[in-house]
């Protein structure tokens, strides 16, 4: 009975004994791995030259390491999600259970979805460029009265917002496909931050924000980053700090050197993040309820993109916040 259940499972299952030799293998696992030979009682290493077992061997190693939902490709487009659980008795490992879950279909759907988003986002750029340039041509003509100008400017900034969403979506697709290219070059972090502050100068003035930029360490070494992507992180954080701040509020950006890391922080006196929504803040498309109330427009992608960029640089991103008092976002970039 037990054997029948074991064999009829859709997922592949392999049990290794305490010597890391195969003690049980079900039908699905044999099919997935393409083994017909007797594998029972043998170690995975003996099969490591089998094309389909090779990558599994690389993942698990001789000693059948513990693994949680790691994706591997087995060739011919077959993608598996592998979990390996060690089983202990009195502190000693007595067996490992390996589950092979076929996620080829999910992967295909994910790829198609990414392609769809990417194509439609690209298609949107042409009419958006046309809208932007039409409005700009009207403004350049200089024949509009003040009231008309205000309206055309509003339309222009809406087109710009939409473009930001399109670009964010394209970034998300690239992140999800794992091909968000990082071209790292050594840069002066301080200069990068300054250029981004300059970029937002007008908005800061418009909101009458008291702005401060502090460098807490004597000398900051150069860091190797993708300047465009890290620039985007700073832009997103600064944009949020302004957008969700009050008129006449404060923003302080600090740079510091801490244990071989550059720490960037941005403190605002804005609306803050509600306690029960804090755990969702880096999720794709998530927007805090008070943020939606204050600014109905927004993609909910800025922090998701920021987190992925920082982590791809080996850094960390986090925040402290109190609703109604303000938020401080931090991120670090290791110096290598």
């Amino acid at each position: 009975m037990f054997e029948k259940i074991f064999d009829n499972l859709k997922d592949g299952l392999i049990v290794f004994d305490k010597e890391n030799k195969v003690s049980l293998i079900n039908k699905s696992a044999k099919e997935i791995l393409g083994v017909k030979e007797k594998i029972l009682g043998k170690s995975i290493e003996e099969f490591s030259n089998f094309p389909k077992i090779q990558n599994l061997f690389f993942l698990l190693g001789k000693e059948i390491k513990e693994v949680f939902r790691k994706e591997i490709e087995l060739g011919e487009g077959l993608v598996l999600e592998v979990t390996s659980i060690p089983i202990f008795e009195e502190g000693k490992k007595i067996a490992s259970v390996v589950v092979l879950h076929d996620i080829t279909r999910e992967k295909t759907i994910e790829r198609l979805k990414s392609e769809f988003v990417s194509v439609s986002a690209h298609q949107l750029r042409t009419p958006l460029a046309s809208i932007k340039w039409s409005l700009e041509t009207l403004l350049r003509g200089g024949k509009l009265n003040e009231y008309q100008q205000t309206i055309v400017k509003k339309a222009f900034s809406s087109a710009e917002r939409m473009l930001t969403i399109v670009n964010d979506l394209l970034n998300v697709v690239k992140i999800e496909e794992g091909r968000y290219v990082y071209r790292k070059t050594p840069i002066n972090f301080e200069d990068l931050v300054k250029s981004k502050i300059e970029f937002f100068e007008e908005k800061i003035k418009e909101k009458q924000i008291q702005f401060e930029f502090r460098i807490l360490s004597k000398k900051l070494p150069k860091v190797k980053v993708d300047p465009e992507k890290i620039g985007l992180v700073i832009e997103n954080l600064l944009d949020n700090a302004i957008r969700y701040n009050l008129i006449g509020g404060t923003i302080t950006i600090s740079l510091d050197l801490k244990d071989n890391e550059i720490e960037f922080s941005i403190k605002d006196s804005g609306i803050g993040i509600p306690e029960n929504e804090k755990s969702n803040i880096f999720q794709k498309f998530f927007r805090a309820s008070n943020a939606i109330k204050k600014e109905p427009e927004g993609s909910g992608l800025g922090l998701f993109v920021a987190k992925n960029i920082v982590e791809a640089h080996g850094g960390k991103i986090w925040f402290e916040s109190e609703e109604g008092r303000g938020t401080t976002f931090y991120f670090t970039i290791p110096i290598k």
């Binding site: 690209h122 750029r125 042409t126 460029a129 340039w133 039409s134 700009e136 350049r140 473009l163």
Partner: protein, 125 residues
């Protein structure tokens, strides 16, 4: 003397807006709808700069760029790519083929594009 800019762009509206903005800034503008027409006009008019779209009917912008850079009479003309494609690979391919710069249309205002062209044409080499 007025500087001559050739715009190779198949979207009529977009071509109209760029042409207008450039004329307002004192440039002479020549327009081409596709790659074939673009090559023809480039040879005849010898513009000072070429604004090139990548997705064109018929021969692609990459092909146009390749042909320009192979032609001893045209190779010196700076080519500025203005496209809505914006993947890293596409940008790199364009620059490798010899484009002087690569701008994503929707991300730039007309003012910024005109400024970029002026910088290319008037900065000392």
């Amino acid at each position: 003397m007025k500087k001559k800019v050739l715009i190779i762009e198949d979207e009529n509206d977009l071509r109209f807006f760029i042409a207008r903005a450039l004329k307002e800034e004192g440039f002479e503008v020549i327009e081409a709808f596709d790659g074939e027409e673009g090559m023809e006009k480039a040879k005849k008019e010898k513009p000072d700069l070429i604004l090139l779209d990548l997705l064109l009917p018929g021969i692609s912008g990459y092909e146009v760029l390749t042909r320009i850079k192979k032609d001893p009479e045209l190779e010196m003309i700076p080519v500025l790519i203005l496209s809505n494609l914006g993947q890293q690979e596409e940008i790199e391919r364009g620059l490798k083929l010899g484009a002087i710069d690569y701008l994503i249309k929707a991300n730039f205002t007309l003012d910024e594009i005109v400024d970029r062209i002026k910088k290319i044409l008037y900065s000392p080499k």
